[in-house]
Subunit: 374 residues, 2 copies
């Protein structure tokens, strides 16, 4: 049985010297260009932002977390209210993760069996069970455009035998997800695991690509491994994914990680970094990171980034942003988040343009040169 999604992926241009490519993905809620960055709306809200803020920043697809929405307010409630798009008043595309990663990173007292995972809610300690069938059912209730197969994300570091078993379980669960999925308006992606072991990544990729998913995610990274290891795993895993399918690198990362992964042929990203850092007062710019708490900005009439066209930079000085942050004003979190999301979305746009104009190598060089100037 094959996954039957309604996603269309068209590659329009390839970098002549790297694996980078430009394309677009069409879902029932619109089309977005790739490589794409998906802001994270964990609980059905990209923290501090309204839908217009996301649209204005250029976001066309966001991610929401199955685990969080399952626990609160519950997928049944969201289904009754017409699905997640309607619930949160977001007309663009949505991807929901499988819940797997959060079960391992947030929930308590996990017990994994072939059936699925029993765990305790991080909110109230209540006991729950999610297996592949439940993950699909929950994601069908939420109604995202792209949903993810249930996987086991092995802790890092894990020994070979643990990861081998985890890969086998992930493949078994992936097949059950394909079998369970009914809603043809949703696309289903498989998640490739295998830890930092190249042969296990290959095994996982071969297993999953044999099931013909609509796209493939590289999971199990950004768990504590070093940058070199991560890039090696991305590169090796990428080689086993069919070239005509979208590749999604889960939970990665910093701007420089995105540049590297785009070069390796990744098409989709999500990360809490722009939103979380914004709420901690760290702002991304082409010339490096700005710590808005720094007293050097107390008097600074200029914007966070000269030439930046985000709402925050167009309207407010660093002096005001610093004041809001120091005074713990709620507006600080929104204005900082607007800038960081704009920065990430704009970075993807710049990369797409560079790829289209056959100058991605040059862009990448220039990106690092500028970052050093901060």
């Amino acid at each position: 049985m094959l996954a039957q999604g309604s996603l269309e992926f068209r590659i329009s241009h390839r970098c002549p010297t790297t694996r980078a490519r430009v394309g677009e993905i069409a879902t029932p809620h619109g089309t977005f260009d790739t490589p794409a960055f998906m802001p994270v709306g964990t609980q059905g809200s990209v923290k501090s932002l309204a839908p217009e803020d996301l649209e204005d920043a250029g976001a066309r697809i966001i991610l929401a977390n199955t685990y969080h929405l399952y626990l609160r307010p519950g997928h049944g409630l969201i289904k009754r209210l017409g699905g997640l798009h309607r619930f949160m008043s977001w007309s663009g595309s949505i991807l929901t993760d499988s819940g797997g990663f959060q079960v391992y990173s947030l929930a308590g007292l996990r017990k994994i069996s072939e059936e699925g995972v029993t765990f305790q809610s991080h909110l109230d300690g209540s006991r729950h069970f999610i297996g592949p069938e439940e993950a699909i059912e929950i994601q069908e209730s939420l109604g995202a455009d792209i949903i993810m197969a249930f996987d086991e994300c092995a802790p890092y570091p894990s020994d070979y035998d643990y990861v081998l078993n985890s890969v086998k379980l992930t493949s078994l669960w992936a097949r059950r997800c394909v079998e369970k999925k009914k809603n043809e308006s949703q696309a289903l992606f498989g998640i490739i695991q295998g830890g930092m072991y190249d042969d296990l990544r290959e095994m996982s990729a071969r297993d999953l690509t044999g099931m013909d998913f609509d796209g493939y995610a590289i999971g199990g990274l950004s768990v504590g491994e070093d940058k070199q290891t991560r890039d090696r795993v991305i590169k090796n895993t990428r080689d086993f994914i069919p070239d005509d399918k979208p590749v999604y690198l889960m939970g990665v990362g910093a701007p420089e990680d995105l540049v590297e992964a785009v070069m390796l042929g990744v098409d989709m990203f999500d990360c809490v970094m722009p939103t979380r850092n914004a709420r901690n007062g760290t702002l991304f710019t082409a010339t490096g990171r700005v710590n808005i708490k720094n007293v050097r900005y107390a008097d600074d009439e200029g914007p966070v980034e000269k030439g930046c066209r985000c709402y925050t930079c167009c309207r407010f000085s660093q002096a005001y942003l610093r004041h809001l942050f120091m005074a713990r004003e709620l507006l600080a979190y929104r204005l900082n988040t607007i800038h960081n999301i704009y920065y990430y979305i704009h970075l993807m746009e710049e990369m797409r343009q560079a790829i289209e104009e056959d100058r991605f190598d040059n862009y990448r060089h220039y990106f690092y040169e500028l970052q050093k100037k901060g």
Copy 2:
């Protein structure tokens, strides 16, 4: 010496049966209709809202707190950066209070003398002095359109002799404020004190109106007195204010308080109630208050208030607002605040229209009938 403000107050219509009146006040930053409600932007930000949110809700004048901005980021800094309007990117009118009320309600170890008040910052315990001259200097640095004379707000309850002395001090300080004020583009209002003693209110009002301020505030209310006492004090104080000057009731209040005070001839209001209640999950509607935490809203697809044209009601269900609030999502505070500010601004608009159409009595009756239906 007279206060020389650039404020123009034009009364366009009077209620035939009450003291309610409709008018407009022109300042260097535009014109606003009266009776007017001023959202409170304590630290140079109406909590959780951006300037556009305020404009969209219909706000044309906001209040900022001199005491807070003096302590952080400092009035000198704001002056160097071009004044408060520019600092916070707000193009409408601004009123700054005198700092008096906050010195008494927030600061520590106050010592009052004829010179002024020595106090400790609520932020870091540092020692400061503000007298009438300092209050004017700070407010001139901030550059609001309407500034307030420095006053002593007596605690409640206070005995007659304390309040008598407080009234005399407030009159003395008011005169020094008039003498100190230089900036002709700012209007200066005097603050009438006198506690709950009718003869002291009269004394304070006569003292201050003798100095020909641009407008008069009724201060020292909403400090714990009962509603009947408050209405009596407003009514009696109001009688001693020249009819051609704007009357501003400070720090009051709930929607019903606004209706009563408009009837008594008050033109301007400020209160943290709409913003603070929003952040606690209490939303105002024509049929009473909504506690968005209530489980009855968990499934509710409807808006907070049917027919309400605020952004929140136009876009989001009570179910989503409840979810955001329960999940402590930052967006909850902004969406709730947008609704409450819109409600307050819209209430003033409704009252103005009712006054213009000679049906304010009827409107008031209808207001209470509707509130009971909640």
